[in-house]
Symmetry: C2
Subunit: 455 residues, 2 copies
Amino acid sequence: MSEKTLAYLQEKRSSLLDKLNEFLSIPSVSTSKEHKEDIHKAADFIVNYLNEIGFDKVEKQQTKGHPLVYAEYNEAGPEAPTVLFYGHYDVQPVDPVELWESDPFQPEIRDGRLYARGSSDDKGQVFMHLAVFEAYMRTEGKLPLNVKVCIEGEEEIGSENLYEILQEKKEMFQADFAVISDSGMIAKNQPTILYGLKGFTGIEINVTGPDHDLHSGMYGGAIRNPLMALSHILASMKNQDEVVTVDGFYNDVEPLSGHERKLIDQVHGEDYTISTGVKETVSEKGYTAKEHTMARPTLEINGMFGGYQGEGTKTIIPSSATAKITCRLVPGQDPVKIQQLLEEHINKVAPTGVNVEVKKEKLSAKAYKVEPEHALIQKAAASYSKAFGKDTVYVRMGGSIPVVEWIEDIYNIPIVLLGFGTPDDRLHSPNESFPMDSFEKGMETLVYYWNEVIK
Amino acid sequence: MSEKTLAYLQEKRSSLLDKLNEFLSIPSVSTSKEHKEDIHKAADFIVNYLNEIGFDKVEKQQTKGHPLVYAEYNEAGPEAPTVLFYGHYDVQPVDPVELWESDPFQPEIRDGRLYARGSSDDKGQVFMHLAVFEAYMRTEGKLPLNVKVCIEGEEEIGSENLYEILQEKKEMFQADFAVISDSGMIAKNQPTILYGLKGFTGIEINVTGPDHDLHSGMYGGAIRNPLMALSHILASMKNQDEVVTVDGFYNDVEPLSGHERKLIDQVHGEDYTISTGVKETVSEKGYTAKEHTMARPTLEINGMFGGYQGEGTKTIIPSSATAKITCRLVPGQDPVKIQQLLEEHINKVAPTGVNVEVKKEKLSAKAYKVEPEHALIQKAAASYSKAFGKDTVYVRMGGSIPVVEWIEDIYNIPIVLLGFGTPDDRLHSPNESFPMDSFEKGMETLVYYWNEVIK
């Protein structure tokens, strides 16, 4: 049954790639208002594609922010299971654009990789699902199971409206299980089941001092420098052993069992010094870098700015300083409680002479974990292995997908994370790419999986 | 003799103001290449004005950077002293331009102040000198003393080429004493003799980590965050008691005598909480804010940046982080030695896992002090008091004027700092302004001073 479908994907390789490139060429950056039209263009692309494929009901749903594409396929019959397929069509900003070797919105294949913003995260992976649906419809005249499609345009800005929509339209999105392809494998062509994700929370710290930038000669010595005050605050939050020094931060962390530390040790992941160019890795005292990235919480400064940033010197005491911080959380930790602990710590250490404000980001998610033994997980692993010709490994990862927490929270259904990205994809960075191998073997995995699931 | 000259300045008030506004309207920002033409326009304005006034020799001298205006007036005869008048026609950048209440390059008078970039620092004060020269020539047919004019276009970028020029053309710039009006009074209409200036030195710290921005979920826990590393470095350089914690920083500082602490205590300077909007001042442990600003060294972060600075959240570990630091130095401290101490400290505390580079700024100056009892200083104080109707006070200030150190170093002549700015001028900030009172009484002071000097 799947042979014809696989053959179709082979035959149509070139026209499918053209279609994917058309999708990737739309600069659907969600963080910036200037791309509003492109966001709609990307949503319309999916709507048109799903209509062409022959879905029963296809809608561009308006939200308070960017539109969500919803679709249903119900012809597999009442006996067949229903899958909720989630993905996102929005992408990260491209800055600094000068570091891209080719235009981020003019896809280009180099050395077996397709370079474009969104090629891996997540337009490329969404497209694989659509192509597989097309292949099934054109060869079998139907899909093996019922499908609900939910492709949003706000993932990169924290899926601001999705939770409310999923809650309000609970009936509409109800399914037997969910599949998400917005993650990766631990190495190229290494089938990987992701059974745990970290949670997420964030704050912004704003330090304000004088009401205007001051001449450092005239005022230096009388005025607290907001950048120095902020540096003191930040340095007090994590020490050089990479241990977060905020009171209570680790209180609710589920301890890492000896068994799981062994499992983690067995994963042969990427060599960070090669993939990131650092001379040496660091990690929380008492834990390896693999343990820390997969299963221990982290705190990172994502951005910081204040004062003069141009050419040359400007001898000022700046009037303000800002830092953006996010934490990745593990099972047991509550994002809202962590925000509260961060705020309390900051207020406690804030120096005199400046005003320190903590803005709590709305975006947050609890960590997620599923049992690797679940049948839907085992079938996914088998499909993966068949397509890639290699045993599947089971890992936890540090990435956060808020929608995973929400689907679990609202629907309490199993969630299968079928990711095909690789460590070299440079998500969120210049020169994002996706291996052509992942496209082909990934689609093969999906063809097998839909067949397995109905057995 | 000075009455006619003073009357001329009164009569021509309106046309002189028009002329000043024309000068201030030229955006002669020296830090940025895009204003190269404006820099030349400002230099040409001065050249034309000096020619109109009737100087004997007027030249726009090319340098490796922005041009320098040189002029001579030699008609006062061999018995009369020769003054070297130094000023600068370049200005600071105007960013953030949205905070200006009127266009920085369309001068506007509001509440007795002239608002424009450069109105105080230093185009406005340079113009006062030119107007007084004009007034003398039009009323007396000559100037009371011989004059050499040196008005540069690179003060705000560290007077990069001036030292070399002053050294190479030693004969040309040789004079009996120097006058500089690029500073201020401690309060509006409070005649102030500035007998000491701080020195200056600067560094830039560049911390680089991964070779591209990383996804904080995938890499958080294995990679040292350059912004956190930089925060640790910066926090280690000054504690919350405002004491610089760099080994050896205070070693060569001349101790502050009890007598001088008393003099400083008697100065009734600005109320920093009013002029800067801070709730409370801070200062080095063991010293008052006045003592710290006037006579103790300082270390300030002038600017800092790294990672994502746009709207919303971007969950990255940034690939780099930068901080710009300058120190204000007091007599005894050597700028180059201080740079060396800063670099050694930074290398000592730099965390593993990142690369830390210290770039030493070329711009630097030793602190300067002159005896308040010198005759040229006493005559200046008398002229000030006569014009403003108030006793002159003697202060040291935290600002640095590298040219002061160089003139002393190369020519070893007395330097008189005749500044007319006020604490509310917002130098280097949005809404820079200069009191109209300072223009009028300042020009009066100069008319008296040139008369006094020849006695």
